[in-house]
Assembly symmetry: C2
Homo-oligomer: 493 residues x 2
């Protein structure tokens, strides 16, 4: 196995940084500030200092870095905005962080072929604004869309609030350019919306979390911008009752763009934080948005309003205008920030189940939280069965950390038992690789490893993410305890 | 290289059929009738007799066959209805045809989670009927939908007439079960509409043309059935003029379910065959279908009618009812049959370009046909830039075959030069592997071969399809001449 594959190995040949300086001049830095500044992503309780940081000026720089990694035995951790929640862009001492966020130009918006070429560092919300100004629409809208980048979205196959109607990032990648572990520049897909020439290599790169290639350009598919939208907010005594509305809406063959829920714990935190005037006794909230043509939106909003009341909602509010719609959406968008105020450390997960199993899953999370004496708020994409159980602890307390770990292990196991998965949109990264064998089975793991060995035999690209390089399916026992954060750096996490 | 990989090798150890009889009894046959009956698929001028045919009774049968193939050195050619147009299910003398068409049960329709588990042998149109009866919809509708099977659709990532609005097969595969070349049963995906746990192995199997796994079960995604639809037919002096309407409709941010074209040659054949009363002087036809909610469909149909006239249509007909709609659709659905009447051999291809390049591509096909003195009718999915240039020759005349081959080589080259691809929905199979290196590049080919080696090291599954096992990117010169059809069997082709 290549040295680059050894995760957490502290020994770095001093020849490596000096070789990188020689090749890349001031585009490479191994200053302590840069190394600490890139030791983290959006994942709490995880960090790792890289040997240095490269801001590439060109595809050639990326190719050269891959060649040097192969020659000198270091590894490469590609990074966009570093908003990931599964540790996918956390480096180790033998790795160079490859920062792509500076590549932030929209290269072309092709209105006739409904697509756009973008650099990987383009911020998702900037792409939204640019195409919406032309009457077009790029649906994927991860929670971090104002910060995260398209390259990161593609690497993680990010979802968002509009997944129920519009799908996720992979549904909008028509083609891409990537530097492979061999140093080869791969260009796949294109503006032909139908293309079955050979294996589906583009979709294999999407969601590969930087372990199979470094994405240097993306061709995204666009759709016409919805003419209008309507936003509704409904309150329920419990998530179980709210779930009846979710089923009733889909049984009525209405597919909202957004169908989100907040549980009692999250609702209380949101109200304490955002002061939206939500009744304190509500047990669950649904945020529903329908979009499309004016005639249909009006009709659907009215039908949904009736369905909510008939299904046991205690309050139903329909936004009169865009300003009120934004206020209602705040309830959902503020969920994470509101919970984060409760404690120094907020662990946001994304266990996912078939939507019909949502009530059972929410009840299980409540039981598990009580059992381990933890505060776990629950919210997320009800229409997708994609929950975000969010655990509020103090990461400096090993006992709380251990309990949180046991609770999430039970949560993931429950999701799998209900026919769900360990991650709906955040990726596996470091946080969930211990659970991947249970999610995809021994056969899936063997296949996964065979793919990685075939495409990155030297283990250069983001080693240790998704699965351990070690071919045995050894179950890592304490993912949270893997690396401790020095007190001086806790502010970063 | 394994013997199973050698394409066209006539020598078969007689121990193989007898071992297969011992294991599978009368589920295996090597009668001359079965071997001739499975020597063909929908692809003209290609055939190859297998050593035998297996109709498996269970997943265990498939696993056992893979084990025997590995032990005894034969290969496996999975087959659904055999309607493929790129030779993807044509066997060679060292292969066993694995016939899945008997596995034709719809196992579950889950209305709450909007999905269905189906066996691979379910006929596509049967699935349409079954889910539409529940108010649901399975959009992919390949031209052969009344005969072809879901397993074949998944293996080829089939498209259809509704691709523009609804996408292709891969957009509707939530999960699947497949027997891998290792004999392992892989189960991937599930009813969670969001799942990013590990590499996207499901989408890698979709479109892998039976070379990476044998699909034994498919979980398809369903959507609500459109409330209603409207069908329009417009005639133009030329495809170039018709293309203006395609651009105008999409610029108006209307996305029809169907946006098909027929060129002058095809139109004349259709009229001679179906007697629809189309004017003889028309240079192009557009068939346009919009579907969805009643209010929007009526509005869109009216806008499209106006756009057609404003963009140079000489006639615009809007179907008054479902009966008339079916009559209009006949013009498109009869295209292939009408052209097939012209000559003994009909070669239907699917070169694809970005939709904005459609007029240029159609003009190029006309020039190429004239240059080689061939009749090439052109029709297909205008909204997708997915053309079906259809060459009418006599396959018994080597000169016509050679000219057709040269013409298609120029057609594929033109498609690639216009930023398109060699196949939009038919697959590479045998017919287009000679052109794949030009389509995906040397890097793509190396990556493709690395994947195949990693997942099917013995080359058991459908060897010689998509690419030659030989690792060199040697350009095969005469794909049509690769195998000659014995006179006695020409009736089959």
């Amino acid at each position: 196995m290549m040295p680059g594959v050894r995760f957490g190995d502290p020994s770095v040949d001093p020849a490596v940084p000096s070789a990188l300086r020689d090749h890349f001049c001031d585009r490479f830095s191994d200053s302590i500030e840069q190394r600490i500044g890139h030791a983290y992503d959006g994942t709490p309780l995880r960090s790792g200092r890289p040997l240095g940081v490269l801001r590439p000026a060109s595809v050639e720089d990326v190719v050269r870095l891959v060649g040097l990694a192969s020659d000198l035995g270091f590894s490469i951790v590609p990074r966009g905005a570093g908003t990931g929640l599964s540790g996918g862009s956390i480096p180790d001492p033998r790795s160079v962080v490859l920062v792509m966020s500076g590549w932030n130009r929209i290269l072309e918006i092709d209105e006739e072929n409904l697509c756009a070429w973008v650099q990987p560092g383009v911020v998702t919300a900037d792409l939204h604004r640019a195409v919406e100004a032309r009457g077009l629409f790029y649906p994927p809208d991860p929670g971090s869309m104002n910060v995260c980048t398209i390259g990161g979205n593609v690497a993680e196959n990010s979802g968002g609030l509009r997944g129920l109607k519009y799908g996720v990032t992979k549904d909008y990648v028509l083609g891409l350019e990537a530097v492979l572990a061999t140093g080869e520049v791969y260009r796949g897909g294109g503006k032909s919306v139908k293309d079955v020439a050979g294996y589906n290599l583009v979709d294999l790169l999407v969601g590969s979390e930087g372990t199979l290639g470094v994405i240097t350009r993306v061709l995204v598919r666009l759709v016409p911008r919805p003419e209008t939208s309507a936003t509704l907010l409904a309150l329920y005594p419990s998530v179980a009752v709210a779930a009846r509305t979710v089923t009733a809406i889909l049984s009525a063959r209405i597919v909202p763009a957004t169908l989100e829920f907040l549980d009692r714990t999250t609702l209380r935190c949101v109200e304490a934080y955002a002061r939206l005037g939500l009744p304190g006794d509500a047990g669950a909230l649904l945020l529903i948005e329908v979009d499309g043509r004016a005639a249909v939106v009006a009709e659907d909003a009215a039908r949904i309003e009736a369905i909510c009341s008939a299904s046991g909602a205690t309050h139903v509010i329909r936004a009169a205008d865009e300003v009120e719609a934004l206020r209602l959406k705040t309830a959902r968008r503020a969920a994470f920030a509101s919970l984060a105020r409760l404690s120094p450390t907020t662990i946001l997960e994304d266990a996912t189940v078939p939507r019909s199993a949502l009530p059972e899953m929410v009840a299980a999370v409540e039981r598990i939280a009580a059992k381990h004496d933890l505060v776990i708020g629950n919210f997320g994409h009800a229409g997708d069965g994609n929950l975000h159980p969010t655990c509020c602890i103090d990461g400096r307390d090993p006992d709380q950390v251990a309990r949180a770990h046991r609770a999430f292990e039970e949560i993931f196991r429950t999701a799998l038992d209900l026919g769900g998965t360990i991650t709906g949109e955040h990726g596996v990264g470091l946080s969930k690789k211990a659970y991947l064998p249970d999610a995809i089975g021994a056969g899936g793991m063997r296949w996964t490893r065979a793919l990685k060995r075939a495409l990155d035999p030297a283990g250069i690209l983001n080693p240790g993410k998704i699965f351990d390089p070690d071919p045995s399916d050894h179950r890592e026992r304490a993912p949270f305890a893997e690396e401790t954060v020095p007190a001086c750096e806790r502010g970063f996490s």
